[in-house]
């Protein structure tokens, strides 16, 4: 294949040309096969997890989702406790992380001098690089006790009338889990927001400020308007991460079989319950119930991610139309 014929008219040139083509065809074939395999992998994950859980899905039916029970002794299982834990911890994390992430991104693009912006952006990125198990270790041994001794009594002192902040402070529970999730999604959301803000057309911002608006007014009126769909996608990607995080949450949330309204009390999320069961469940029904939890988590994450992707793709197309 490496020796190209000197005389194209000589006999055998045809074969050689085919030989060259063969290399191209082969290489393209391998590349296509790899791409098909990657696509098939996504389908296979969905298929395999669902089919593993199928006996449990048939056994428990859809009512599994709104049944609040997890009793290996009586072999009664339901997902409501874990769905509730996942939704509440993720919602709190999202409420805290979204404004913080947007503010960090604005600081990096609009306020910080360039020399300061680059190292701070790197540090925020490094926050995402901390392995979740290390963050969980810190969460369980350092952050949890601080939450119990300082943050929770403080919140209780003026929000104690609210059932969410009632009960005894504890080092493992919904609140520390939500805060650890907040730390995990800030770098994701703020990195995307920063990218969006830095791509906002400069002349639009300058125009707004030339008309007399302050920097904040220009940001609110121009930048947010321009970046709104992207911000929505960034928030959804952060949410997907919060839903799916199993390890750090498992370490700090404490584990519980029933719903407790108080944010201070131990709870469980879908991911953390699955992670907690790795050493083997006792009955096949329990294994099925865990896989069923996996299916619920997978569906929630896939929907969140696909919606985020659709928004991003549309946003890109609209941006190209400018």
């Amino acid at each position: 294949m490496t020796s190209v014929g000197f005389d194209p008219a000589a006999p055998g040139a045809d074969l050689e040309r085919h030989g060259i083509r063969l290399g191209d065809v082969l290489f393209q074939g391998i590349a296509v096969a790899a791409s098909l395999a990657a696509t098939a992998l996504l389908g296979l994950i969905v298929y395999q997890v669902t089919s593993d859980a199928w006996p449990a899905i048939q056994e428990f039916g859809a009512s599994f989702i709104w049944t609040e029970a997890w009793d290996p002794v009586k072999d009664v299982y339901g997902a409501l406790t874990f769905v509730y834990g996942t939704v509440v911890t993720s919602a709190i994390a999202l409420l805290l992380a979204t404004p913080l992430s947007i503010a960090i991104a604005l600081f990096l693009t609009e306020i910080a001098p360039r020399r300061l912006a680059a190292p701070i952006a790197t540090m925020v990125e490094l926050l995402a690089a901390i392995p979740s198990v290390v963050l969980g270790l810190w969460g369980i041994l350092v952050f949890g006790p601080w939450v119990r001794d300082t943050l929770e009594p403080f919140l209780q002192s003026f929000l104690g009338w609210c059932p969410l902040f009632s009960g005894d402070p504890s080092q493992a529970g919904m609140l520390p889990a939500a805060l650890v999730l907040t730390i995990m999604i800030i770098p994701i959301t703020s990195a995307i927001c920063r990218e969006l803000f830095s791509r906002t057309p400069r002349d639009l911002m300058d125009g707004s400020m030339a008309l007399g608006s302050t920097r904040w007014e220009a940001i609110r009126g121009v930048m947010f308007a321009y970046a709104a769909p992207g911000i929505a996608a960034a928030v959804l990607l952060g949410l997907g991460r919060a839903f799916g995080e199993a390890i750090a949450v498992n370490q700090v949330i404490g584990g519980a079989n029933s719903i407790n309204v108080s944010l201070f009390a131990p709870a469980d999320t879908l991911g953390s319950r699955i992670a907690a069961q790795y050493q083997g469940a006792t009955s096949s029904l329990q294994v099925g119930a865990i896989l069923y939890l996996g299916v619920i988590l997978m569906v929630i994450s896939l929907v969140t991610n696909v919606v985020a992707q659709v928004i991003v793709t549309r946003f890109e197309r609209a941006r190209r139309a400018y």
Binding site: G23, Q28, A31, A38, I111, P131, L137, V142
Partner: protein, 297 residues
């Protein structure tokens, strides 16, 4: 204009109450933005500081050369270091060639629609929670065969694939068209152009993507819990059995009531975090060099 009565709201030459309010809003906004950045950097410093402070006292030669202690004995994390190195190494072998081929297909062969479709597939694959990848490999391979380091590596490879493929595809897109055309015009076949012209040009970006992906999967616990977690406390290179790994060891230690094991957990966390940070710094340096090369060109 002259006939219109003077309206204070539109007069920007005098300091109206409105202007003062707007300036205060501006100050508040700037303060909150600075405060948020301080919070983020502060959390990083706090976590890193704690891990270094609590972990460094445990580090010794024994810690790196001896396996995990049986109850009450002194020991280290040599078994977990060997296991992690083997599993991450195997995951790289599985994921990198496939990822680069997918990226080549996207940038060199696929039309825009197929390419966008594949990008969405990869991004969704990237969004599948690690714990789901864990139970997927558990159901596909572990059930009936038992845990093994190879299955653990396969799970990590699934996480690496979309990261490396997307990073590679993004650098391949910015390789100048003229390079491809020059090579093809000289009669070089397409596949040789790709392998010997385009890939070497993009190698810096590909390396950055690989290093970032390795840093991320080296700290992943969730996929290994179901595939390679129940292992003996000894240094072993038998990849057909489950091997101990650094993240799983930290996970187990973190939930231990024994202060000695907790201390070992901090030290192991320090080792893991240093490894991850060094890889991230390397990625930054490689990426910076690549960018300068492109700007210089």
């Amino acid at each position: 204009m002259t006939a219109a009565p003077h309206d204070d709201r539109y007069d920007i030459t005098t300091r109206s109450g409105g202007l003062r309010r707007r300036r205060i809003t501006e100050k508040v906004f700037a303060g909150l933005a600075v405060g948020s950045a301080v919070v983020a950097v502060g959390i990083l410093a706090l976590v890193l500081g704690t891990v270094i402070h609590r972990g460094i006292t445990e580090l010794s030669l024994d810690f790196f050369t001896k396996p995990r202690p049986l109850f009450g004995q002194a020991g280290g994390i040599a078994d977990a270091l060997v296991g992690s190195a083997l599993i991450v190494g195997m995951a790289m072998v599985m994921a990198i060639p496939c990822s680069i081929l997918v990226a080549i297909f996207m940038s060199e062969y696929a039309g825009p629609r197929v390419s966008v479709g594949l990008r969405v597939v990869l991004d969704v694959l990237n969004g599948v929670p690690a714990i789901i990848v864990g139970i997927f490999v558990f159901g596909l391979l572990v059930v009936g065969r038992g845990q093994s380091a190879i299955f653990g590596a396969f799970a990590l490879a699934i996480l690496m694939l979309p990261m490396v493929a997307r990073a590679t595809q993004e650098v391949l897109e910015i390789v100048p068209r003229s390079l491809r055309e020059a090579s093809l015009a000289l009669g070089v076949t397409r596949w040789r152009t790709t392998l010997s012209i385009i890939l070497p040009t993009a190698i810096g970006g590909i390396l950055t993507g690989v290093v970032i992906a390795v840093a991320r999967v080296a700290g992943e616990t969730a996929p290994l819990l179901f595939t390679s977690s129940i292992a003996a406390n000894q240094v072993s290179a038998d990849v057909s059995n489950a091997l101990p790994t650094l993240p799983v060891t930290i996970f187990v230690f973190s939930e231990s009531p024994d202060p000695g094991e907790q201390a070992a957990g901090w030290a192991a966390a320090l080792v893991l975090i240093l490894f991850v940070l060094v890889l991230n710094v390397i990625a930054k340096v490689v990426a910076g060099r690549q960018r300068r090369k492109h700007e210089g060109a």
